[in-house]
Amino acid sequence: MYQFLTGFMFWVSVSIFFIGLFVRFIFYFTGLNWRLDRVAYKSYPFYGIKGALKSVFKWLFPFLTRVWRKHFFITIASFAFHVGAVIVPFFLLAHNVFIRGKLGIFHSIILNQLTADILSWLVVIGAVILTIRRIVLPQARILTRGYDYFILFLAVAPFITGLCARYEVGNYSFWLYSHIIFGEVFLIAAPFTKLSHLVLFFASRIQIGMDFEIKRGGMKSKNGMAW
């Protein structure tokens, strides 16, 4: 079982994840159409790149945009959730050791145990807050479907099971297997579900940044769009 999950399934899930997301990212841009979108994407490369970079950068860090400043609480919860969710899987020591076994690659940036614990807990706490927010706030509740909770669950399950394994709550093997399975389910699901926002967030922000910069006044206002 362990062999199967960490062997065949590891390769399958990782391949689907990276190839799938890469394909979705590429297809997003090949699917754009300057005439239908009414944006001269290729005519003004300088402004296009400037608008795209600004649009991504400003939203990638907390409190740089008006929205992030205005919605203080959700900004904290959302960044806590996302930062841990991105960093821990890549820089956790255990993952690194595992990857070295597989690929022979070992990168030098490793999270120490305390940081990894904190980041993982922030993911779980962030997910809890985001879930409560969806239940409590009318503007989130009306929009939320079962699917949205399912996606949140897919994202947080590897962390919950990972923490249970790390603290050896009850049966260690059970949590380890669960962790691997949920991790692989996440990797396989990402390109086909809303989890694709992992890359499509960047794609969409690049497009809207170019849109405002090239077409909607970016060339005329002093600082471009005031995100």
Binding site: F27, Y28, F29, T30, G31, L32, N33, W34, R35, L36, D37, R38, V39, A40, S43, S55, W59, R66, V67, K70, H71, I74, S78, L137, P138, Q139, A140, R141, I142, L143, T144, R145, D148, K194, S196, H197, L200, F201, A203, S204, R205, Q207, I208, G209, D211, F212, I214, K215, R216, G217, G218, M219, K220, S221, K222, G224, M225, A226, W227
Partner: protein
């Protein structure tokens, strides 16, 4: 497939059809016929398949459904934070649902979608600035307008407006002769006050070709005279065109993309015929959006630009004041608390926030200008954009929506609201009529006329 005499999938193509629609008071027959209009689901799905590309597909898919966009929408705020007014909800329950059902929707669905599309969104694009995923719901509603228009589910006034462009190349029944006659007549009226005042028609290779909003011709001809006076005072080499003089596009509000192209092609042909150095459009937001920002794409112009450099009137005013072509008498600067309404179409979607503030620095006595909160790109829609002002059946929706702008204005303490945009001007006039908050509102031209210095050569002969 059922087709009403007034309400059908066919666009207006004749003057008789237009007259019949205009005679239908409050759209009684039109909306009655709409009850029986069938949805051509095959056409709907086929259209979506050929026009829906990765941008909108992705927006609908990756929407986090977090509701952060809620407070970006003035209609959500105006309607006591009604969750059904959240941009994401509005688009997911209409366009999102149509796509999910592969176009298999019925008459009742389409009528609800029509109400949401024209009665709950002005396509101001403010939500685009507030979505972490960069989702522009206004753009999606603009797309949905096209789908609904194709199926005949469009408010009466929008159908008429688009029809006007198809027949008159103008948003109302003003012929080319009416335009020139009115312009020449009103300029004559002012000739005695400004020596040498004239309106040059069809002059080739002029520095400026001036385009207008047909409403000015029909309802506010003084505006044409003011434009002529200011161009003459600035000693500009300008002209109007006898064909292609209308800059607006109600077809854009209607989602009649074919008529959009017909209209803007007419204006571009005038540019190509007269070859002016620049085209300057009047104080209208959506006219600028249609002819300068979106128009090039309807015409398939790869550089996204009209055939000649085209600017908004506020850009010319700022330039004329900056370069001294127009000189303001400092004694006559505005000395009353004043604020400005930022037109969504040329501020958020056209980058002209700084330009309008520059004008204010010349015409308002320091200390009297008060910004709205929020302002600039973040300002709210006036409450009447995207065709909202003109749609009878959604008048109550519109009036409710005006409360956000009303409260913003009250908070500034301003007694005068600058509104260099026809839709904004109308909305602010209507909000004053509706709520009586004791304000005045104005385009820039009448204010400038009162405060510019007149060179000796143009002063009336004594």
């Amino acid at each position: 497939m059922y087709s009403g005499k007034l309400c059908s999938k066919e666009p207006v193509k004749t003057k008789e059809q237009l007259q019949a629609l205009l005679k239908d008071t409050r759209g009684k027959t039109y909306y009655k016929e709409m009850q029986n209009l069938e949805v051509d689901t095959d056409l709907l799905w086929k259209t979506i398949q050929t026009t829906l590309n990765s941008r909108i597909k992705t927006w609908l898919e990756i929407c986090s459904r977090c509701g952060i966009c809620a407070e970006s929408c003035f209609l959500y705020l105006a309607n006591d934070k009604d969750p059904t007014q959240i941009p994401s909800y509005k688009i997911q329950s209409t366009l999102g649902e149509i796509i999910k059902r592969k176009g298999d929707v019925d008459n009742a669905f389409m009528q609800t979608a029509m109400e949401t599309t024209w009665g709950k969104c002005t396509c101001c694009n403010r939500c685009a600035m507030y979505c972490p995923n960069g989702i522009d719901t206004g753009v999606m509603f603009s797309y949905l307008r096209g789908l609904l228009y194709q199926q005949g589910f469009v408010p009466l006034e929008m159908k008429i407006g688009a029809g006007m462009h198809r027949i008159y190349y103008a948003q109302m029944d003003i012929t080319d002769e009416d335009f020139i006659d009115t312009f020449e007549w009103i300029v004559e009226e002012y000739e005695k006050d400004y020596q040498g005042l004239k309106v040059p028609v069809d002059v080739k290779n002029a520095d400026i070709m001036y385009t207008v909003n047909a409403r000015e011709v029909k309802y506010y001809p003084e505006d044409l005279a003011y434009a002529a006076i200011l161009f003459n005072l600035a000693q500009e080499n300008w002209t109007v065109t006898s064909k292609g003089w209308e800059e607006t596009s109600l077809a854009m509000f209607a989602g009649d993309w074919e008529a959009c192209k017909i209209q803007v092609k007419h204006v571009y042909e005038a540019m190509e015929r007269l070859k002016p150095k620049r085209m300057i459009g009047t104080e209208c937001g959506h006219a600028h959006r249609a002819t300068v920002i979106e128009g090039p794409y309807w015409m398939g112009r790869k550089d996204g630009k009209p055939p000649v450099e085209s600017i908004h009137y506020v850009e010319w005013v700022a330039e004329a004041l900056r370069t001294g072509k127009l000189k303001i008498n400092p004694e006559k600067r505005i000395k009353t608390p004043v604020t400005i309404q930022d037109s969504c179409n040329y501020v958020r979607n056209g980058g002209l926030k700084d330009i309008t503030r520059e004008i204010i620095s010349y015409i308002v006595e320091p200390g009297y200008f008060v910004e709205m909160e929020p302002c600039g790109e973040n300002n709210f829609c006036c409450g009447g954009g995207g065709g909202f002002n003109g749609i009878g059946i959604y008048r109550n929706h519109r009036n409710k929506g005006l409360t956000v702008k009303r409260d913003q204005i009250i908070k500034t303490g301003a007694k005068l609201v600058l509104a260099p945009c026809h839709n904004c001007w109308d909305a602010i006039r209507d909000l004053e009529e509706e709520f009586k908050i004791g304000i005045k509102w104005s385009f820039l031209k009448p204010l400038l006329i009162d405060m510019v210095e007149i060179p000796e050569s143009m002063k009336p002969a004594s």
